[in-house]
Amino acid sequence: MAALYEGFTLCGLVPTQNASDSAIQGIELDGDSDHALVTDSTRSVTLYKVSDQKPLGSWTVKQGQLLTCPAVCNFQTKEYVVVSDNKVIRVWKDEDFNLDRAFKATVSADVWRVHSAPGGEPVVLFQRGAVRLLDSLLSAPQQPIEDVLSEEEVIRWSTNIVAEKQHFVLFTTEQKGEHFLYVQRLNPNTLQKYRLEREDSRSAPLSFSASLRDKHINLLYLYPNGCVYQSVVAARGYVGPEGVQALPRSLRLRLPVGEGELGAASAVALDEAHVAVVGMPHPSARTGKDFLCIWNTNFQTLQAGKEMAGRIHGQVWCYLGKLFVPHGKALSVIPYECQKSSLASALGKLRHAGIAVSKSSVAVPSWNTLLHGNQPQGPAKIVATRKSKLSRKSQSVQALTVDQVLKLIKTGPVDEVQREVEALVSRGDAQDLQLSVGQLACHLVARSQAETTFYTPGALAQLVRTQCLCHSVCPDLLLLALEHKDYFLCQLCLQLFPDIPEVVTCACLKTFISVPDGDVEMVSLEPDSVSFMEGLVVAGARGGQQNGFSPPLFEEDSCDAHHQPKPTQHQDKKNPTLQLEACPVGLHKAVLLNEVLQTPYSDNLLLPHLKDLNTQQVILFLQYLQFVYLKYSQDVYTQTPGLRSPTVTQVIDWVCLLLDAHFTVLVMAPDAKGLLSNLNSFVKSQVKLFSELGKIEGSLQGLHKMKLSKDISQYSIEVIELF
């Protein structure tokens, strides 16, 4: 998982004359990790202590002069280097107050950038593509500088990378609509030129970001159509043939760009799986492209998003766990965190294996479909759609296109919208659906939110059922369903969405647990899950205990049962009867709770939200969990394999989470005492079981060792003893 934390403003920005230009030329690191060197677009360089949001120093060139390159820090000498008016290199130290008095050297050609990285000398990249080490340049400033690039070739972006002992300068150029990547190795100097694959729209890449991973340079670049490509250049050993090579690329991410193309946007790789993108629309907010988002490229999931107020210039820098984003009139610093991503953590705790496979054939806005045009849907589905196609044709009704339906949703009456959406969904083939379902759902939800009278449960349910929808595509859907008390839709969403955030899961839980039983019993829910629950409730009530069954939990701690004042109902009943206790919640409510139990989640994200539940809710939920656990552990009820049902592990996990969240409250609550002591005995029995298993494991391991010690040779003389 990745998260964006609460950011802060590092400094205000002075708007430039030309509104489209950014007020900041560049942000570079100082030797100190907490320092950032901010170069504005005109004349001044400011050094900030980031954590204190305090400027430590500021240097300005004279009026009339212009800084043409972001200031960098020479990590070896702790000096700052900047270029003014393209040709004048200035070097100064912290103590210098006046930039004019600092060391100056005028070089013979225009400088594009000075680059510096920890562990390497600063490098100067000239506008015509030549590269010099700063030291050697300053020792002979007027040395002739050769032209590497051809006449019309212009540098668009550059960076440098220090890998072990190798120093690289990377820059991209544009020439007649074609883009090239140059990789300049220093010591020994070699230059390699790659041609970037041309994007269909012939547009230029919006931003580049290079990083070093596993001895390879990974170049990440973003196009206005939202595609993020990655190319890999070997950092070591291989020096390719002369001439221009094609640079293979792979599509890492296709961002939803909304209407039109991205204007000022930038993507920066945070780690191997995460990319921060600024200046793009949030998939759930329809307008505005002023979001900072972290995407997981492995799973194509949106991990975190943040709206940045004001104009975004498509600039983002990433240093040491912080993102620097100039927007509007401020430069914001936003700390982020990317955890090592696994599928489990990206999607939360995995669902019950068997069901997960059968039900969620399409998960997240599928990268398969989006990238490669695969059709993960089974043949049955295709057949079905074909059939419906035929039936549609036979009706000879003029079918509406997606865009027409979208328009209709904005204004049309409920019935018509419902009808057309259903028609569209049943007609469209898988490929189109994938893309349009999200839009349809978003529009429907938006309309419903705007007009309280407008609500189309059938259409929404059908959209969800296509399995092309997930929570991140339409985050308001589930909340809308909750608002309208459409529990059936809630159930569907919980079943089919793989990426429901924990906060929403918790909201569902809260709603479900506090809804009066009568309200839910009337709702029609998915029959499979209802029949499972019926089976579970009936199982114990039949009283069908198997031969030789003895309630194991209460026998063993019958001795300490004396100390614990159990609730009266438990005292006058024999222990086994407790296990036949009725379900503490109504049938349909239980079904909904089961859905919550089976929703994927991450412990540490769920825990804070669980604290929102009040004590009564917690106790009721715990009672229900206890009920399910008892039913399961009774062995009387054998789980039907096909049915969707929470596993024992899920039940136990939830019990643990609830106890974690509310333990102090529960300890104090008198109603919870019996419950807690029961749960305690479960834990005891589980601990005992596991200790027994541990013993078995130990003895099995012993067996294993015994077998191992006997290596068989061709001949040996052994001593045996017979009695």
């Binding site: 068989i712 061709q714 040996s716 003389i717 001593v719």
Partner: protein, 684 residues
């Protein structure tokens, strides 16, 4: 009893060869089994599946098919010859070139008057079975393509022949082919390959059942030549078929190592119409099942993985008993290892060579369970390759290690050995004329005489001296039995010789007087091992049914201990073992101790200890180990069984009181087999 030093030997690379064919004689209940090396083995199914006789193989002989005619055994093979075997002298009686190229199969009619063979050149040849010979009668209509399998209709009027891509039905009197049944090829890639009909069975209702290389078992109507039912049972070949006597069941053996049973039953309850339904699958083999026989109560199968499996059909048994257990016969029921007890030498017998090894030694002492450091390693002294085409049938090493002898069906060779410093071997050049072949060889304990079991249960006595070997006498049994001797043993004092033959007779000869001393009362089961006690001269015999007797040669009666044992009865656990005891030796230092072994255990019987009764824990070594010194004596019984060593070929006690255990792990045999057919397994 105490500690024992054990030489654990695993360097005998004994490798049985694959089973190629088998034929069961329901009348005598003998199973004849042919292996790839041309050897034939006879198992007596009435006597605990004891391997009664072994006819050694020959390089040029290959057997594709076996056939019983009454008590006579015929074989045919790819060398194009039909052979009849002399089961008394354990050699082929004669062989006959059939002039039809390689022969794939031989069958006889139910009357036992005719043999039919299927030849490579497409002919089915009929032979008349005469008293002492067989004679070519005629050919049936020659077909294009080889005849792989044959089956004679029980009435004798028709023969079904399995060929390439088809089955032909011949009318025997006219010799014309009357039906042509086309067999489909396999699907997919195997479409281009001809289907080989590996096996056919002709039932009395004119149903033809066929098994072919496309993995099908097909049922045909022999009258109309129509296909009734196809069972696709494997992706590979169906190699063998066998029909039960009442024709209610057919078993098919496949390349996957499975045996699949089909039964003629009504597919739905209370219905008259019966059909062939696939019922059971047995998997007791890892490789091709090449030979099958469905007998009264069991399915017998064998194949590339070299072991014989007797799989009882449990519905034929009312209760779980000894007979209802699965049997696997891995090792021959006779000795392939000779041990020179004084010299510490081992002689290993292979079909093609002999290996002489000197055991290693150690001067260390250790606790039980320890492995002692070796002072010197075991040493292969000699590799003696046989001369001629015939395989070695028996071999012997004198206990001093100075003499070595082996025999094939055509010759006996005796060698003088010197193993002390520089190894030398000298062939004894002039052998007596009478010594042409031997079923068993054995040296007297002082190495002055050699005994060779000859025809009609007679024993030749040969005197050995440094320079020559001389024929002394022929010991002849009084009974006039014609069966071969399969066991021979002499007493340490050189006075007695005991010889056992396949008629279960044991003759004891007095070697000083060179005449028959006595006949041990004949017991119903064949002796599988015997030995004469070095001090008491009592003869200890173990039979195939696991019974154990001790007979006093001097007193010509069973000893008291033996009577006591018989009276009390052997422990059920002992009786339930499924491999015969193949070796009996004695402890020269402790006259009470007898050492015996079978494939899975060795046992030291201490006659001074009480016999176990049925309630006693029979395998009690673990219990005894856990008891204290004082408690132990009350738990001891006479049978001390050690199962530490497995897959035993020989257990012998050397004169220095250390035990030699020759193991041949089945895993090592399996690992030398060719790869089985590839089967799709999970995640491969």
């Amino acid at each position: 009893m105490g500690e024992l030093k054990v030489h654990r030997v695993r360097f005998f690379d004994y490798m049985p060869t694959a089973i190629r064919a088998m034929a069961f004689n329901a009348h005598t209940e003998r199973l004849a089994l042919a292996r790839m090396d041309g050897s034939v083995e006879i198992f007596n199914f009435t006597d605990h599946y004891f391997q009664e006789k072994v006819i050694p193989g020959k390089d040029s002989r290959s057997i594709e098919s076996l056939c019983w005619v009454g008590g006579r055994l015929f074989s045919a093979g790819l060398n194009g010859e039909i052979a009849e075997y002399d089961l008394e002298n354990l050699r082929p009686k004669y062989s006959l070139e059939a002039y039809g190229g390689p022969i794939w199969t031989v069958i006889s009619n139910t009357q036992g008057t005719q043999l039919a063979i299927g030849c490579e050149d497409g002919t089915v040849k009929l032979f008349e079975v005469l008293e002492e010979h067989i004679q070519f009668e005629r050919n049936l209509d020659r077909q294009k393509g080889r005849i792989i399998s044959l089956s004679w209709h029980p009435s004798g009027t028709h023969i079904a022949a399995g060929m390439m891509d088809m089955i032909r039905v011949f009318d025997v009197p006219t010799g014309h082919a009357v039906q042509r049944l086309l067999v489909d090829r396999g699907i997919g890639g195997s479409k281009s390959r001809e289907t080989v009909v590996w096996s056919v069975a002709f039932l009395s209702d004119h149903t033809v059942v066929s098994g072919d290389s496309a993995g099908k078992v097909q049922v045909w109507d022999g009258h109309t030549g129509t296909l009734v039912k196809t069972h696709l049972v494997t992706k590979w070949d169906v190699l063998a078929l066998s029909v039960s006597k009442d024709e209610s069941s057919v078993v098919a053996g496949t390349s996957e190592g499975t045996v699949i049973q089909f039964q003629f039953i009504a597919p739905t309850l209370h219905q008259q119409d019966k059909e062939w339904v696939r019922t059971r699958t047995f998997k007791n083999h890892t490789h091709d099942v090449r030979a099958l026989a469905e007998i009264e109560t069991a399915i017998v199968s064998g194949g590339m993985d070299t072991h014989l499996v007797v799989r009882p059909l449990l519905e034929k048994f009312d209760e779980k008993s000894h007979a209802s257990g699965l049997r696997k016969i891995h090792f021959p029921h006779r000795n392939l290892v000779s041990c020179a007890k004084k010299a510490g030498l081992l002689l290993f017998q292979f079909p093609g060579q002999l290996e002489l090894w000197r055991l290693g030694d150690s001067d260390g002492h250790g606790k039980p369970g320890d492995r002692l450091p070796l002072k010197w390693k075991p040493e292969k002294l000699l590799l003696l390759k046989r001369k001629g085409e015939d395989h070695i049938c028996c071999s012997a090493l004198s206990s001093c290690g100075g003499w070595l002898a082996y025999s094939t069906v055509s010759s006996v060779r005796i060698y003088r050995l010197q193993t002390d410093n520089n190894i030398s071997i000298t062939k004894v050049s002039k052998l007596p004329k009478v010594l042409r072949s031997a079923h068993q060889l054995c040296f007297s304990s002082d190495s002055s005489k050699m005994f060779a079991a000859s025809s009609q249960s007679s024993v030749l006595v040969i005197a050995l001296t440094q320079s020559e070997c001389k024929y002394v006498h022929t010991l002849k049994p009084k009974s006039g039995s014609r069966q071969p001797i399969h066991l021979m043993t002499t007493s340490v004092d050189g006075k007695w010789l005991a010889a056992a033959n396949s008629d279960c007779e044991i003759h004891v000869y007095n070697l000083q007087k060179l005449k028959l001393h006595c006949i041990v009362p004949v017991y119903g089961s064949c002796p599988s091992a015997m030995g004469i006690h070095p001090t008491t001269n009592n003869l200890t015999m173990v039979h195939a049914d696991q019974q154990l007797f001790e007979y006093s040669i001097v007193e010509k009666q069973y000893t008291d201990w033996s009577r006591k044992l018989q009276k009390q009865g052997l422990h059920n656990v002992w009786l339930d073992r499924d491999t015969p005891v193949t070796h009996v030796t004695f402890n020269p230092k402790n006259p009470n101790q007898v050492v015996l072994h079978d494939m899975h255990m060795f046992c030291i019987i201490d006659q001074s200890l009480p016999l176990p009764d049925q309630k006693t824990q029979f395998y009690n070594q673990m219990t005894l180990r856990s008891l204290s010194e004082q408690e132990r004596p009350s738990h001891l019984h006479a049978f001390k069984i050690c199962k530490t060593f497995q897959d035993l070929l020989c257990v012998s006690l050397l004169d220095d009181q250390s035990l030699v255990v020759v193991e041949r792990p089945l895993l090592a045999i399996t690992s030398q087999l060719p790869a089985p057919v590839r089967q799709k397994k999970f995640a491969t």
